[in-house]
C-alpha cells in the first residue's frame, strides 16, 4: 500500500462542528493505514475552502481524497472540480455525508460522532479501490433521418436542415404531405389556410439540404446518438437499397383511422352516404358536397367518438373537426340542417370553446347521446340514439359523417421492431417519460413526433417536431464531440456465460450479444450506469465502474464494525 490518502473534515460552520467531536474523529482516523493527512476546515465549499483543498492535494501529493462534509447531492461536483484543478482524477475522491446523515439527524453527539467515524472509515477503505475514470469523447454525425413525410416530418426536416446538417426524409407513399393534404381546411386558429402547408412542402422540395426519398421504407437502423447507420429500401423501383450514416432519427409516421368495420352498428360501408371523416374532408376539398344521387344533402348528422369505447381513449381532435365540418356544410350549402352527436365535448385549448359557441350561434344542433344505431330507412339514413337519462330517440338525415378514433398507422409495430422501440398498450410509440420527456425514446438520439405518439392536433404535432429538432440541434452540434457517462457497466469476457439476462433488464438497449464470442457486450455510449445489469448477472461478470462489488463490500464491512 503506497496510497497517500488525504482526509478533510468540513466543520460546515457550527453545523458539523457543534454536533460531532471532529477532533476525536481526526484522532481516530489518522492511525488508519494509507492515510497521510487528516485535517479540518471551516467551510470547504467556500472559495477559500476550495483553494485550500487544491493546495493540499498538490502539497501533500495525495493519491486519494476523502472529504467528510455534506451530501454528495450538494457538493460532490464542487469537490470533483477541485480535484480536476489540482490534477487529481476526480474519481479518486469520495465525499462522506456526515452533515445530513449524522450531524443533522442524530442529536446525541456521542452517537453522531460514532457514526461519522464509521462513514469516514468506509469512505477511506472504499476510495483505495477507486480507479481513475476518464471522460471519453466521441465524434458525431450531425445529419438526421426523418421517417414519415406528413406535416410532422416536414416540420422536423425544415427546422433541422442547414448548411452543415443534411436531412434524409423517408416517405412510404409516392409523395410527401401526409394526411393533411386531404383536408379541406384547418381550424381558423390552427393555421387558417392550407397554403401554409403547401408552402412548407415546397420549401422541403427546394431545400438542397433535404434529400426526399419517396416510395421508400426504413429497413434497418443500428447505432447510438451521434452514430447511427440506416438502410433505406426504395421499393418504388425494384427495391434499391441505400445505406446512410446519421446522428439522430425522428419518427413521424403519423396515424390512421379506427377501422369502422369493427363497429357495424354505424352502417358504414353498408348504407349509402355514411362517410368517415377523411372521406368528407376529401369531398369538401373537392368543393362538391353531394350525395350519391348527385344532390346536395339537406340534413347531415355528425357522430363523434366512433370507436372511442373500443380503443379506450379520447382522440381529442374529433370534436373540433366535426364542428369545422358543420360550419363548412352551412357555409357551402344553401339549406342544410346539421346535428352533432357527442358524448363529452373535448375543447381543451383556449380558443376551442369560442369556436364551439360560434357553431351553436349559427344554429348547429348539439345532442349528447350514445348507443347509436344507423339504419337505412327508405333511402334516408335514420340515426337512432339514447340521450342522457335513457330516453331513446332518432332523426332522419341525408348524410351521416362518422368521426372515428385516431389509431397508430399500420406499420408502427414493424418500425418499432426495426428501431427496437417500445409501444404502449394503445399501440402508439411509448415516450421514455410521459411527463418529463414526451418526445424521447429509450434509445437516445431516436425521437418520435406527432400522431405516432398518440392523437394530436396540427399545432401540437408541429411543436413536437420542433421539440425533436431542439433536442437534436443542442446535442448534435457539427464538429462538437459528445461525452458519454463514465460510470458505466463493463463486462469481463472470461466470466460471461452468454445467458443474456443483462440484455433483458437493460431499458436503454445498451447491451448487445456478440454471437461470435458468445458473450454480452456493453455499448458505453448508451449505458447510463444504473447497474441493473450488474444486479441481474449471476456470474458477476458485469461490473459497474465506481460501484463495484469490492467497493460496496468495503462499505458494508465498515458498517458492521
Amino acid at each position: 500500500m503506497n496510497e497517500k490518502i488525504g482526509v478533510y473534515v468540513c466543520e460546515c460552520g457550527p453545523n458539523i462542528s457543534d454536533r460531532i467531536e471532529i477532533d476525536r474523529v481526526i484522532e481516530k482516523i489518522s492511525s488508519v493505514e494509507g492515510v497521510k493527512v487528516v485535517k479540518k476546515f471551516g467551510l470547504l465549499c467556500s472559495n477559500d475552502g476550495k483553494k485550500y483543498l487544491a493546495d493540499e492535494i498538490k502539497k501533500e501529493e495525495l493519491t486519494h481524497l476523502v472529504v467528510a462534509a455534506c451530501s454528495p447531492r450538494e457538493h460532490e461536483q464542487t469537490f470533483m472540480n477541485v480535484c480536476l484543478e489540482a490534477g487529481l482524477n476526480p474519481y479518486l475522491f469520495q465525499l462522506i455525508n456526515i452533515r445530513e446523515q449524522c450531524a443533522w439527524m442524530i442529536s446525541d453527539k456521542e452517537e453522531a460522532t460514532r457514526m461519522a467515524i464509521k462513514y469516514i472509515l468506509a469512505g477511506i477503505s472504499r476510495v483505495t479501490l477507486h480507479r481513475p475514470l476518464l471522460k471519453k469523447e466521441l465524434d458525431i454525425i450531425s445529419d438526421v433521418l426523418v421517417i414519415g413525410g406528413g406535416i410532422s416530418g416536414i416540420e422536423a426536416s425544415l427546422s433541422l436542415a442547414g448548411k452543415n446538417r443534411k436531412v434524409y426524409l423517408v416517405e412510404k407513399k409516392e409523395s410527401i404531405g401526409g394526411m393533411v393534404k386531404n383536408f379541406s381546411a384547418l381550424l381558423p386558429y390552427q393555421g387558417s389556410n392550407l397554403a401554409v402547408i403547401e408552402e412548407k412542402i415546397k420549401q422541403v422540395q427546394n431545400n438542397e439540404n433535404i434529400e426526399v426519398l419517396t416510395s421508400s421504407e426504413v429497413e434497418d437502423v443500428l447505432g447510438f446518438l451521434g452514430n447511427f447507420e440506416a438502410v433505406i429500401k426504395s421499393n418504388g423501383d425494384g427495391s434499391v437499397k441505400k445505406e446512410i450514416k446519421i446522428g439522430a432519427v425522428v419518427v413521424a409516421t403519423g396515424f390512421s383511422l379506427f377501422n369502422l368495420k369493427d363497429t357495424p352498428q354505424y352502417g358504414y360501408g353498408k348504407i349509402e352516404n355514411v362517410l368517415d371523416a377523411l372521406e368528407f374532408e376529401k369531398m369538401s376539398a373537392s368543393g362538391k358536397i353531394l350525395l350519391k344521387n348527385g344532390k346536395p344533402p339537406k340534413s347531415v348528422a355528425l357522430i363523434h367518438c366512433v370507436g372511442r369505447e373500443e380503443k379506450g381513449y379520447c382522440s381529442k381532435v374529433c370534436c373540433l373537426y366535426s364542428i369545422k365540418f358543420a360550419l363548412h356544410l352551412q357555409d357551402k350549402l344553401p339549406v342544410v340542417d346539421v346535428t352533432e352527436f357527442y358524448s363529452d365535448l373535448c375543447l381543451p385549448e383556449k380558443a376551442d370553446q369560442d369556436y364551439f359557441e360560434e357553431a351553436k350561434k349559427k344554429g348547429i344542433r348539439f345532442i349528447r347521446a350514445d348507443e347509436f344505431e344507423v339504419k337505412d330507412k327508405a333511402g334516408k339514413i335514420s340515426v337512432e340514439y339514447k340521450v342522457a337519462g335513457g330516453k331513446k330517440d332518432s332523426i332522419a338525415v341525408d348524410m351521416a359523417i362518422l368521426a372515428p378514433a385516431i389509431v397508430p398507422s399500420e406499420d408502427t409495430s414493424k418500425l418499432a421492431e426495426i428501431l427496437n422501440l417500445p409501444l404502449d398498450e394503445t399501440g402508439f410509440f411509448k415516450e421514455v417519460h410521459e411527463m418529463l420527456d414526451p418526445i424521447s425514446t429509450p434509445i437516445e438520439g431516436v425521437y418520435v413526433a406527432g400522431c405516432a405518439l398518440g392523437p394530436k392536433n396540427i399545432p401540437e404535432s408541429i411543436i413536437q417536431s420542433q421539440a425533436a429538432s431542439g433536442k437534436i440541434l443542442s446535442s448534435l452540434i457539427p464538429g462538437k464531440k459528445i461525452e458519454p457517462e463514465v460510470k458505466v457497466s463493463e463486462i469481463k469476457e472470461e466470466f460471461c456465460t452468454g445467458c443474456q439476462m443483462c440484455l433483458s433488464v437493460c431499458f436503454y438497449g445498451a447491451i448487445s450479444f456478440d454471437e461470435h464470442k458468445g458473450i454480452s457486450v456493453v455499448n458505453e455510449a448508451i449505458c447510463r450506469g444504473c447497474g441493473s445489469c450488474v444486479g441481474s448477472c449471476p456470474s458477476g461478470a458485469i461490473r459497474s465502474k465506481h460501484f463495484t462489488y469490492p467497493q460496496l463490500y468495503r462499505e458494508v464491512l465498515q458498517a458492521l464494525r
Binding site: 439527524m105 442529536s107 433488464v505 444504473c530 441481474s536 459497474s544 458498517a559 458492521l560
Partner: protein, 141 residues
C-alpha cells in the same frame, strides 16, 4: 431484550429518490436512530442477493433497500426488477425461517424526508426487539 444493543443496519439507497429523501430528513433536522449505515447506489436494481446475503451473513442485524416508488424510477424500470430480486431473497429467508424480518424494502421519494425517518426508526426498533443477528457470533459463517 438487551437494552444497550446497538444494531448494525445496512441501507442501500438509490441516488435519485431515497438518498434525496434521506437528505431531506437531515436538512429538516428530523431525529433518526443512529444505527443505519447508508450505502449509496445509483438505482435499487443494482442491489442483488450477492450484496444482501453478504451483509446478512457477515452479521448485519438488518438490511434495508430503498428506492423510488414503483413507476418513479429514474431509470424507468429499475425498481420493478429490484422488487422481484428482493421478493426472491425474502421468500428464501421465509422458507428457511432465517429471520426474514431483518430484510426490508421501502419506497421513499425525494420529498418524503419524514417518511425516511419513520422507516429507519421503525426498522431500528423492530431489529432491537429481534436482538442481534445470530450470524454475528456464528464462527461457521
Amino acid at each position: 431484550m438487551n437494552q444497550d444493543f446497538k444494531p448494525n443496519l445496512v441501507g442501500f439507497l438509490c441516488n435519485w429518490c431515497s438518498y434525496a429523501g434521506a437528505d431531506l430528513a437531515g436538512s429538516s433536522k428530523l431525529e433518526v436512530k443512529p444505527y443505519l449505515s447508508v450505502i449509496r447506489v445509483m438505482c435499487s436494481s443494482r442491489v442483488n442477493s450477492n450484496l444482501v446475503l453478504n451483509a446478512f451473513l457477515w452479521g448485519a442485524d438488518g438490511v434495508l433497500i430503498a428506492g423510488c416508488h414503483p413507476g418513479d424510477c429514474h431509470y424507468e424500470k429499475g425498481n420493478y426488477y429490484a422488487r422481484r430480486r428482493f421478493a426472491l431473497i425474502k421468500k428464501i429467508m421465509e422458507t428457511l425461517n432465517l429471520e426474514p424480518e431483518r430484510l426490508q424494502l421501502s419506497w421513499i421519494s425525494a420529498s418524503e424526508g419524514k417518511r425516511y425517518a419513520e422507516v429507519v426508526n421503525k426498522f431500528a426498533e423492530d431489529i432491537i426487539q429481534l436482538g442481534p443477528n445470530p450470524f454475528r457470533t456464528n464462527p461457521d459463517v
